[in-house]
Symmetry: C2
Subunit: 416 residues, 2 copies
């Protein structure tokens, strides 16, 4: 049986970034990783530019910052100056407009008084050459790399890509994740369960976890405990980047999934992990040939996770193994990982395997991370997850954890 750390290492060894794709730069690529270097197609700004509304003038015309100048033109943003500013002259200019020839500074409008006869009185003792002028190409030069492959696409990167004329880019795509619930006892949420049946709560939960991780969930439905039906749905799931099977992977007599996976070419790399809840966690890989055809090199084609049917086991299994895998497929660092937190009250606990116990993690600017285990009666207790926002890791054995002790906590949320 693997430890959690060993199991995670096996997962990450098999989760390499997906092939890059060209995508339109809509909000659907927010948070994805850029897969190409981006060069500017222009100087930015493309011209010497006014940074204030005011008057473009020649500093040499001023005495102690003062002068009366003749207004020769008005230059709104988006227009091109038509006249050079000569001695004793000024052009009214708007923020963002190109500086006219001859001018070497912009005096802000608040320091100017317009007079009759197309004249302006200027009073700006701080005037100096280049005042309120943004020089051409100060931000970037044509041909210069402004974003490197590997950069994550945040709002400012959207702005930069637009500034250099990009409406599409090569990105590491969001993994397509098939989610398949299994078991004759499982019915859709819209159905009132008959005796012996339970509603499929893991399907919606896994879809939400997948979406929260930035990947693209595709629910395949509920497979009956029947080889033909299972095989057909698993085959469908193996066409995606990741297949998550909910239920059907423990050692029970009717758990058909492991056999069918093997038959379909999935190599199981582990099927038990020393943890609670959720010991029976299967991880396997469907290998394919390198699409570039390089000498039959094997590449992982679909990652397969078999998660236990109990809801808390399922949630923990996803956060410990699936989420880091999805991040690796997207070329993101593993995250969220563990933080050390201070226990807020005594918590005696006995367990035979390291236990991921639902907990409330909070942050305080003075004291750092604090954690309090929440009420929970075991892996079927889905309701016990609602007051929780993390899992505190309790070591195996019989311990009285004391208030003030530091314990590792698995973060699963990244909200403020």
């Amino acid at each position: 049986m693997q430890s959690v750390a060993q199991a995670l290492e096996i997962v990450l060894q098999n989760a390499k970034p997906l092939p890059a794709r060209t995508a339109p730069l809509t909000t659907s690529v927010l948070g994805l990783v850029l897969a190409e270097d981006i060069a500017s197609d222009l100087d930015m700004p493309p011209f010497d530019k006014a940074m204030m509304d005011g008057f473009a003038l020649r500093v040499s015309d001023l005495r102690n910052g003062q002068a009366e100048l003749v207004i020769i033109e008005e230059i709104p943003a988006g227009r091109t100056p038509t006249r050079a500013v000569g001695a004793g002259q000024a052009s009214r200019i708007m923020t963002g407009a190109p500086i006219p020839q001859g001018a070497d500074a912009v005096v802000m409008i608040e320091c100017c008084e317009t007079l009759a006869n197309q004249k302006v009185r200027v009073n700006e003792p701080r005037a100096r050459p280049r005042l309120n002028i943004l020089d051409r190409a100060k931000e970037m030069r044509v041909g210069e790399i402004v974003l490197r492959a590997g950069t994550r696409l945040r709002p400012q990167e959207f702005g930069l890509l637009a500034a250099v004329g990009r409406t599409t880019a090569r990105v590491q795509p969001a993994p397509r994740v098939a989610i398949l619930s299994t078991g004759d006892e499982i019915v859709e949420p819209s159905i009132t369960p008959g005796l012996g049946q339970i509603r499929n709560s893991n399907g919606p939960m896994l879809q939400a976890q997948t979406a929260r991780a930035g990947a693209d969930p595709q629910f395949l439905g509920i497979a009956r405990d029947e080889p033909q039906h299972l095989r057909s749905l698993i085959t469908e799931g193996l066409r995606r980047d990741v297949l998550i099977l909910s239920g059907g992977v423990s050692a029970g007599k009717l758990d058909l999934v492991p056999g069918i996976l093997e038959e379909l070419g999935v190599r199981a790399l582990f099927h038990k992990v020393a943890m609670k809840p959720g010991k029976p966690v299967l991880f396997g890989v469907l290998f394919g040939r390198d699409p570039m055809g390089s000498a039959g090199l094997e590449t992982s084609q679909t990652l397969v996770f078999g998660l236990p049917g109990n809801p808390v086991s399922s949630m923990v299994g996803f956060e410990l193994f699936v989420r880091p895998a999805l991040r690796a497929l997207m070329a993101l660092p593993p995250g969220p990982g563990l933080v050390q937190a201070t226990l807020t009250k005594d918590h005696p606990y006995r367990t035979d395997r390291p236990t991921y116990h639902p907990a409330r993690l909070s942050w305080c600017d003075d004291a750092g991370w604090a954690v309090e285990p929440t009420a929970w009666f075991g892996s079927p207790d889905l309701r016990g997850l609602s007051p929780a926002n993390a899992f505190v890791v309790l070591p195996e054995g019989d311990h009285v954890h004391r208030a003030g002790d530091r314990l590792p906590v698995l973060r699963v949320e990244n909200d403020f």
Copy 2:
């Protein structure tokens, strides 16, 4: 001129949760707030349930945990037991299946050895009544409230809602946010700018910021500096919950926006904030009549933000004012707000207004938050935002901030 804190208070006074709507429980409602109490429609589990694969039996049959029992039935998950377990009998049972009448414990399969003649030898010294049985209604009773209005929809809430049969729920909807870029000098990213023109980088950036905040961005295009065109697009934008205008709100001669907003019934509540970058920030409200018709009570119908055209001013203005407003419309607490962080190196800085300077914020389990200002030459410097993930707040005046000083930092990202 308002301080940032005063301005934010004015914004939040006018940003009340939107009317609730019924929505299907797809991943598009992930992160939204529930607007109704949710009651269970059944006992959960609906029957005494096996928590392990093994044998259901009567503890009174065991001596020191041992016995040889006759196997009378096999109960897979999803099936109903047909026979009561009598003295000397046991039924093979799968995880999740209903406990047959007569049985009072489940002994796990690993402690059982099946013999010839439909018999099983059991050896489980820890056997006691209710072992490995999850009692009916242990998790929830029919009619019990399992989620309260105000709960945020995370993966575990998706699971719970499915468990109680919900496929839709009343939620606080994501605000619809119209984004309107303004200015004759602005061209779409796909166009190579002519002399005096610049590409619309704020439009894509604001759309990405809106999406990151969990709201629904709708880009209306670029309005020319022409009253008819502006009026028609602003009128369109005022049909949404929020209208963001990019550019066109400073005091320049061609800045037509404030006049048109007033004409269309938008009441400006502030138009300047003591901050850098981004002093000219307009906030206004289009009031409407209460849709419930209660005596002409005014309700805010559309929140209007006019952000400066410079990209960094635009980004800071959004994060300081628009994002908290969007969160309030969604009934979420303000967040992200400020954290105190330790400056990692000396940083002399002179400014005449509190300045939100691009910075790199990092977290270390030992030392807490650390912040380092990033290279930046002012509000047009969009490229300077790419190495940054936060804004350090530098006070007005001439200061030498020392390594080790604590400074407030505006968090804008919530990634691990």
